[in-house]
Symmetry: C2
Subunit: 380 residues, 2 copies
């Protein structure tokens, strides 16, 4: 039984910092990993914003990098405010503690609803949009029982299994992760459900800008957040090559427990879940399977200990010289490699390698991959 | 792909030996384990028959042990002959090679049909009597594909899954194991199916006497044979506490692979199979899961090398004295213990301990348990 009263600890961003963070993450070529590297190198988002043009130019950008302006950020903060939402930074107390730990965690999350839901241990429940009646019933049972056991239930607001899971945990607290901006929920028929969630014990969450309409490629990012927020992911009915399996693979990458509900091999809605069982997912025939397996995890320090991230000092390393940059560019290719391998291969100091990669990244020349691997855009 | 042309090797019983074997296994207090101990101690079934009264009396029998007579055995052999069946001894070439290896393998099997089916690698396919349409379909698919891959399909002639499995492997060869005598098939509606099996490429098998009507307690013995004959057991739909789960537990005890087909947790017919998956059974969503896992096993020496069991010499150990017997009786209790523990505890020679246990067994005072454990009947 998880302790719902986790200590909420961490830094608090000033309003000025929050605007700088929002500007930085909304600027071109800045994703979560680049954001983290910039803060580490420059000491603050504000310093990073000031250095973006120079870093990007050193990396070989052919045109000036687009930097989100102060007004643009203020407009988004105002939109959030009018909408009843707020932006929470990765080090702040209301940020989902399990999500903090994953590679590429969003530096800022837009949240609307009962913020305390974000910091309780969570179970992800996902599955087919065209769920069977029994699948929907099963998802509801898992969500209801996990809710009663103290977990929030995280899902993607989709039709079918997601809808069942959210509905069954409205009273105990459920987190809907959106693929678009908080004001662009999808699908339209679930807008009333989302209102029920955010007006009750639950929460809507998004890393995307206000006004952003979700496109197909945004859903895997949404799935990453579902896996990242949850300690364990329950997959109830999933076809082969479905989004739920992407969510499950990410959950495995993040070291989360993956639960799969067995089903008839003759039902295509169960091919994905049966496949997960073959890969070692936990056979799940009732809520107890989930609650018992998660119990030890929900007691982790993650939810009880202090998690504070202090901004680093401004890095005092000098700009790298062009020779070093040329060495790294020629060492990179289209095959993703580890940064440690680049350091070993080139013999350059780690700080120099990281800085050059950051420059290339901001110039739009670097590709980042799962596991911290990088490759270079060959058309550069 | 198993080699269907296994070398059939072993001893051949003379007709006189076969009658003695049949008399011995049909005598009171003689089960497969006692039969084996008697042959080991006395050197032959004929010697054992001669010694039964003395051994049983030394073990403390209160009345004379019933020994099957020559005429009784001859009558059963004649009945088998008229029925088109024969008795195959455990060391003989037509005895199922995998069954030879299990604890408590029947010394004699009555068989009718295509005897070569007995010596090919086999897959057991079992499940619910009240199978769903999709369960029956799935069992047929597995049986058909395994048949084509060179395996015989072993099952229990029951309604539902068993029936589907037998029907789908009529042409490639299927083994029906009966809980009663070969002339007492159950259920009655499957008598035509049994005829198709034995008149075609398949085989009916039983360890029970001709004329024996199956009772409830005979079915677990039947299930033991299904598991023993098969290299792997596929369980397609099984409720909790069902016979199929007994078969699966025995298969595990014998070191067989256990395959279970996943199904909806909301369908009681899948509770047993899902439970097997939780215990580590192989998730089975298609025939390839079975065929790939069994391929290495079907190449074992079991099916290719010589398996010869020579009768042992008559044991020259003297009858144990009453003091030793009293020591062992007082060391035993209602809790099953290992024979090695009895040897260690009493300090008596192993041969003496085995002989005293054999005497107690024949006197009806010993209980034998799975794993070779023994206990004593406390009312003795």
């Amino acid at each position: 039984m998880p302790d719902g009263s986790a200590r909420r600890t961490g830094i608090a961003l000033t309003e000025r910092q929050r605007i700088a963070w929002l500007r930085l993450i909304r600027s071109d070529n800045v994703g979560p990993a680049t954001f983290r590297d910039l803060i580490n190198h420059c000491g603050s988002a504000e310093n990073a914003l000031a250095m973006l043009p120079e870093l990007s130019a050193r990396g070989g950008a052919t045109r000036a990098i687009r930097i989100a302006g102060v007004q643009e950020a203020e407009r988004e903060l105002e939109a959030a405010d009018r909408f009843g939402a707020r932006f929470v930074g990765i080090g702040e107390p209301d940020y989902p503690p399990a999500l903090r730990q994953i590679e590429g965690a969003p530096p800022l999350l837009a949240m609307k609803g009962e913020l305390s839901a974000a910091t309780r241990p969570s179970v992800g429940v996902v599955g087919s949009r065209n769920a069977s009646i029994s699948g929907a019933k099963f998802a509801a049972m898992i969500a209801r029982d996990c809710g009663r056991a103290g977990y929030t239930v995280t899902s993607g607001l989709a039709r079918g299994i997601d809808t069942s899971a959210h509905r069954a945990s409205l009273e105990t607290g459920t987190i809907a992760v959106l693929a678009g901006g908080l004001d662009q929920p999808y699908p339209p028929e679930n807008v009333p459900l989302l209102d029920e969630i955010t007006e009750g014990a639950g929460l809507a969450v998004s890393e995307m800008p206000f006004g952003w309409e979700p496109r197909a490629r945004d859903f895997p990012r949404r799935n990453r957040l579902i896996s990242g927020i949850s300690l364990g992911l329950v997959v109830v009915e999933a076809a082969e090559r479905s989004g739920s399996l992407i969510t499950a693979r990410m959950a495995t990458d993040f070291g989360r427990l993956v639960f799969a509900v067995p089903g008839s091999p003759l039902d295509p809605r169960c091919h994905g879940t049966n496949g997960l069982l073959k890969q070692g997912a936990i056979v799940t025939t009732g809520s107890a399977d989930v609650i018992e397996a998660l119990a030890p995890l929900s007691q982790l320090d993650l939810f009880n200990g202090p998690v504070v991230e202090e901004p680093k000092k401004f890095s005092d390393i000098l700009p790298p010289n062009d020779d070093d940059r040329a060495i790294i560019v020629s060492a990179l290719g289209p095959t993703p490699v580890e940064v440690d391998d680049i350091i070993r291969h080139t013999g350059l100091p780690a700080s120099t390698v990281y800085l050059i990669l950051l420059e290339l990244d901001l110039a739009g020349r670097l590709h980042r991959h799962v596991g911290g691997l990088v490759s270079i855009a060959m058309d550069a």
